[in-house]
Amino acid sequence: MSAYNTMELMIAAASRELEDGAVVGVGTGAPCAAAMLSQRMHAPNLVIMFEAGGVNPQLPEMPISVGDSRTFHRASMAGSMADIMEACARGMVDYTFLGGAQIDMYGNLNSTVIGPDPNHPKVRLPGSGGANDFASFCWRMMVITPQDTRRFVEKVDFITTPGWLEGGDSRREAGLPPDAGPYKIITDRAIMDFAPESKRMRIVSVHPGHSLKDVREQCGFELLEADRVTETPAPADDELRLLREEVDPFGFIIGR
């Protein structure tokens, strides 16, 4: 097995979550790389959508913007935001990847403001963009993110994007479409999912070279554990080769 870096491991792990024939709404960066790797490994018919209107492109390189020319390069359609968001709202988009400056134990994300008073922010961040839309409607929301106690917090300063809200049945009670919500959180140390009833984040697998203890130490809230916690499989040789040669040959994301 070849040497690999953490970003390569995270992208490979994310790519394995996407099955052939599914539809995924992605942004730029690691999620896009994960979807492209899936297409080259096991999911040639994985459909990629970008919120600005790109449907099923054959991505020639990493997009810089979710609306740049690459996002509809040799695509099935150069559509509109309505085409994409309405497909999400109708239940036709299976997966999405999102991120944020903060995440809590229910997978709620903050990308709006840091600080206690949103009207007088310590740090102004971009806001929802399409994140709240994707997270509300896509069946399974995933996050690829570095993990530390500043990012994984007990309470986010602002819920930009809904996770399982306050856990239990709170997301459905709030009025969001049922059965959609956070699915997997892929960090630089572990993979988490959410307990079926409480909807609290729990450790599913720990990456090679890391321990349960250090996953917990780099998290600002108590992480539950799945019944059986495994070791995350390292990226396979063919995954690494495709990632380095075809998906991200200039190393924009994987940094090689």
Binding site: A52, I64, V66, G67, S80, A89, L125, G127, S128, D133
Partner: protein, 331 residues
């Protein structure tokens, strides 16, 4: 209708469809020549205190030249639709053009990072914000385009995005499910950049439309900037390709490379070096003031800005980048 919950954000524009109908009744639908300079179009249609919206997505098919002209003419105290806005927001924030923003996406340039200038302005307390999402702002424009006061949607519920919006939650009379009502957004003036336009305002563009068709129909006044003027005959030979029709359009400005330094699909790719320079120089306020003087205030128009940043040679290199020719066509 029973309102179950409502956001605390301020509604910056009037969603009343009858007030809008009264306006649109008086708007000229005449097939008349509308070609003018961008300077005159901004002077005529952009006024202090009014509400502005910009088409495109981030730095893609964005009317950058129009943003420069608005800053150059010193417009202030405007409302702004912060819908998928990136480099456009960065420019308008530098000019302190707006003092209230409907936020979906602001201050960032996606993977490129955050704008220091836009952050300073948004953290200064000078700007009032109401939060939305990209889809929500698009639907607010769609509601306006449809002549409705509002449209329902099923996102935002349970979040602080909703709490700081001006949306309301009610119950669906058919299914009993909760619905978020989004108020129609009729911008006073919008700018959209396209590939081709005739002298009357019939527009063609290639690639994704983002929310531009909704915006074109919702805006009270619409200024088109275009890469090229084309003869009306070309429009009439293939009218199915017209994406925005003349009767929505108030002014037509031919502005080659009008989306530079952003991407114009099938024409030129974004100038990442120049965009990085913006992000870098913004961190030093004095240096940024000089940068703005050089790139906006001292320029007569967009062609002078382009001349200062590499001219035609740069544009040719960016065309090669757009067509992936600089990497053997393989990316």
């Amino acid at each position: 209708m029973r309102i179950l919950d409502e956001g605390s954000g301020r509604l910056f524009t009037d969603p009343d469809p009858d007030a809008a109908r009264a306006f649109f009744r008086s708007k000229s639908r005449a097939l008349r020549p509308k070609v003018t300079s961008l300077r005159e179009a901004v002077a005529g249609y952009v006024h202090d205190g009014e509400y502005l919206a910009i088409g495109g997505f981030g730095a893609n098919r964005t009317p950058v030249a129009a943003c420069h002209e608005i800053v150059r003419q010193g417009r202030k105290k405007m409302g702004f639709a912060g819908h998928t806005s990136t480099h456009d927001f960065e420019i308008l924030a530098a000019g302190e053009v707006f003092d209230r923003v409907d936020v979906a996406y602001i201050v960032g340039l996606e993977a490129r990072g955050l704008s220091a200038c836009a952050r300073r302005y948004m953290e200064s307390g000078k700007v009032e914000v109401t939060e939305w999402t990209n889809y929500a702002l698009m639907l607010r424009l769609k509601a306006a385009a449809m002549g409705l006061p509002c449209l329902p949607v099923r996102n935002m519920m349970g979040t602080d995005t909703f709490r700081h919006s001006a949306a309301k939650i009610t119950t669906c009379p058919y299914t009993g499910k909760k619905l978020v009502l989004l108020p129609a957004l009729y911008p006073d003036v919008a700018f959209i950049h396209v590939h081709e336009v005739d002298e009357y305002g019939n527009c063609r563009f290639a690639g994704i439309s983002v929310a531009d068709l909704e915006l074109a129909n919702a805006a009270k006044h619409l200024v088109i900037t275009a890469e090229r003027l084309i003869p009306n005959d070309v429009i009439r030979q293939d009218p199915g390709r017209t994406r925005i029709p003349f009767h929505l359009v108030d002014a037509v400005c031919e502005v080659p490379y009008g989306a530079y330094p952003g991407t114009m699909p099938y024409e030129y790719f974004s100038d990442e070096t120049h965009l990085k320079e913006w992000l870098k120089v913004e961190k030093d306020e004095a240096a940024f003031a000089e940068f703005l003087e050089h790139n906006i205030f001292s320029c007569a128009d967009h062609s002078e800005y382009i001349e200062k940043n590499g001219g035609l040679k740069k544009m040719q290199a960016l065309r090669e980048r757009e067509f992936l020719l600089d990497r053997g066509g393989k990316g």
